[in-house]
């Protein structure tokens, strides 16, 4: 990029980037600012750029007067279960497709690839009927089961397992190791980085998933937090500090994960979109 560097000096790009970045992220600051303000601070013209006085009353109010704690638990349980089960079953499947030669191997992989063509949103009508006939509407099962479909994870694991040196599994097999042992003692530890990247991205996706939880859960206390906070408005009318306090609470886990694992998230996004 040396030639481009000559046309515009680096420090100008740096300054412009930081200014644009701060403007872009301003709504996040604004949400935080309002969530820490009094209702009366939100009707000022010009607007108050700092919460004065800074209060966590809205947060306390939301925690005490809504079922947000229950929504949190629902979100944590469903997201963790989805991530763990998805990684486990896709890893097993990818190992078989990558390492075991058996008739039908290629056809099964083609069928999994074909699954990419199916958009998830167009399946909600029959999925709802299916779970309704099993009495799983408004349950954890109904919430979790359809979110376990993740053919992309199989494809990614298969790519990584395909690159493992064949000598490794050969040597282990000679020592009498079973396929399960090879997978969990050799392949998994050697692909831990990609597993973490996948786990974090899957967790963020599942935590943020809106459409399916919105369809399958109607009981307010059983909602996940992204769906639950849309009910906060009907709880006490329009009150921006309280709504934004619930919004801040809803985004804390994924925001913290991102800030800690920024690189892993970037890696996970690039891998799952097929760019690396």
């Amino acid at each position: 990029m040396s030639a481009i560097k000559k046309t515009v000096p680096s420090y100008i790009i740096t300054i412009i980037s930081i200014v644009v970045g701060l403007v872009w992220a301003f709504p996040l600051y604004w949400a935080l600012n309002t969530s820490l303000s009094l209702d009366t601070n939100t009707v000022l013209i010009p607007p108050a750029f700092f919460p004065k006085p800074m209060l966590i009353d809205s947060f306390i109010y939301v925690i005490q007067n809504t079922t947000i704690v229950q929504w949190y638990i629902n979100s944590v349980v469903s997201s963790v279960v989805v991530v763990v089960v998805v990684l486990f079953i896709t890893m097993l499947c990818a190992y078989a497709l990558s390492q075991i030669k058996f008739p039908g191997n290629k056809i099964i992989f083609m069928l999994i690839l074909a699954g990419f063509m199916i958009p998830s949103a167009t399946n909600v009508i029959p999925l709802f009927m299916q779970l309704n006939s099993l009495n799983l509407v408004n349950t954890y099962w109904g919430l979790i089961l359809p979110q376990l479909v993740s053919p992309i994870a199989v494809v990614i694991y298969k790519q990584f397992f395909d690159q493992m040196p064949i000598e490794l599994s050969d040597a282990a097999k000679i020592d009498g190791a079973s396929d399960y042992r090879i997978l969990f003692r050799i392949y998994l530890p050697m692909n831990l980085a990609i597993t973490w990247a996948l786990a974090i991205v899957l967790f963020i996706w599942t935590w943020n998933n809106f459409f399916w939880p919105f369809i399958i859960i109607n009981d307010t206390p059983k909602m996940t937090i992204p769906v639950g906070i849309t009910q906060v408005q009907s709880w006490y009318g329009i009150a921006y500090p309280r709504q934004l306090a619930s919004a801040v609470l809803a985004s804390l886990p994924t925001a913290i994960l991102y800030i800690i694992f920024q690189r892993r998230v970037a890696q996970g996004v690039a891998i799952t979109s097929g760019i690396k």
């Binding site: 740096t14 872009w24 607007p47 009508i125 359809p146 943020n208 921006y240 985004s251 925001a255 979109s273």
Partner: protein
């Protein structure tokens, strides 16, 4: 046991043990296959079959042939929702791609501040959609919202027939551009720096020319991927429209998936909702085929 000895011993056994291999593979694949068949393949077949019935939302109904499809083709609500979806795409896809590319081009130039600036651009993407919409309902509030304060206006952005869809698109770009930016960033880093050095030796000094003749063509596979992923996602747009405008004012922003939701879950026409799903499914399939035939061809040139 020496390796040589085992190899001789194993190979005839292995032939006899094909069934055992199959059994191991089967048990490894089974858990994923059960989930995949039950919650992806079966519903896909069922949505097709339902589209020929007058089922309610419990799935109970009779076969009525092509009636749903002929109704769909004459249904002004369907066509207007389809237009709203396409209108949303027109407002969203190209700007979202352009801004993502611009941010990525800025980021590759940064050194120490890169992590920070990247986080500023990317943070909105990791928020749940309902958080994004609460933030922007407040930003766009007609009386005390900061946007109207800055513009010195009193627009009711999400209730206005002409402003609603552009405002929803704007919010979508703000929310998702970080994703496009990351893909472009990965693409830019894959362009070998020798290409730029060679070009500058050939007398191409101007940054715009370098972009035009090197960056843009080499980045095209990424650009086409970014475009495709957005179009595929936005055929299925629902959440932010539902939360910001609820399809209003007067259904002027109601998109296809919301129409399916209304038909299926609010008025209980499961069969007809399945037909709307099929229409969406076909549109998404055609988009993928179009991408393979058109965008890939440009890539080869």
């Amino acid at each position: 046991m020496t390796p040589v000895a085992t190899k001789i011993a194993v190979s005839p056994v292995a032939r006899k043990n094909i069934r055992k291999q199959w059994l191991i593979a089967f048990t490894l694949i089974a858990p994923f296959a059960v989930v995949y068949l039950t919650f992806l393949i079966y519903p896909t077949i069922r949505v097709f079959m339902l589209s020929f019935t007058n089922a309610d939302i419990a799935g109970v109904g009779k076969f009525i042939g092509l009636q749903n499809y002929s109704r769909l083709l004459q249904d002004p609500n369907f066509w207007s929702s389809l237009w709203h979806t396409i209108y949303f795409m027109i407002l969203c896809v190209v700007p979202n791609t352009a801004v993502g590319l611009l941010f990525a081009l800025m980021l590759v130039r940064l050194k120490k501040t890169r992590g920070l600036v990247q986080a500023l651009f990317f943070l909105p993407y990791i928020l749940p959609v309902s958080v994004v919409t609460v933030i922007w309902i407040w930003m766009f509030d007609s009386n005390y919202g900061i946007i109207n304060f800055i513009l010195n206006t009193k627009f009711q952005w999400f209730q206005d027939e002409f402003l609603a869809m552009p405002a929803v698109s704007f919010v979508t770009i703000w929310w998702t551009v970080g994703f496009n930016m990351l893909l472009f960033l990965a693409g830019l880093e894959n362009i070998p720096s020798e290409y730029y050095e060679a070009a500058s030796l050939d007398g191409v000094k101007n940054g715009f020319q370098l972009f035009r003749y090197i960056t843009w063509p080499l980045l095209w596979p990424v650009t086409s991927l970014v475009l495709l992923l957005q179009i595929l996602a936005q055929w299925q747009i629902f959440n932010q429209v539902y939360l910001l405008t609820n399809g209003g004012p007067a259904n002027k922003t109601r998109v296809v998936l919301q129409y399916m939701y209304v038909e299926g879950f609010q008025t209980g026409h499961g069969g007809y909702a399945a037909t709307i799903s099929m229409a969406l499914f076909i549109l998404i399939l055609l988009t993928s085929i179009f991408q393979v035939r058109f965008l890939r061809v440009r890539n080869d040139q």
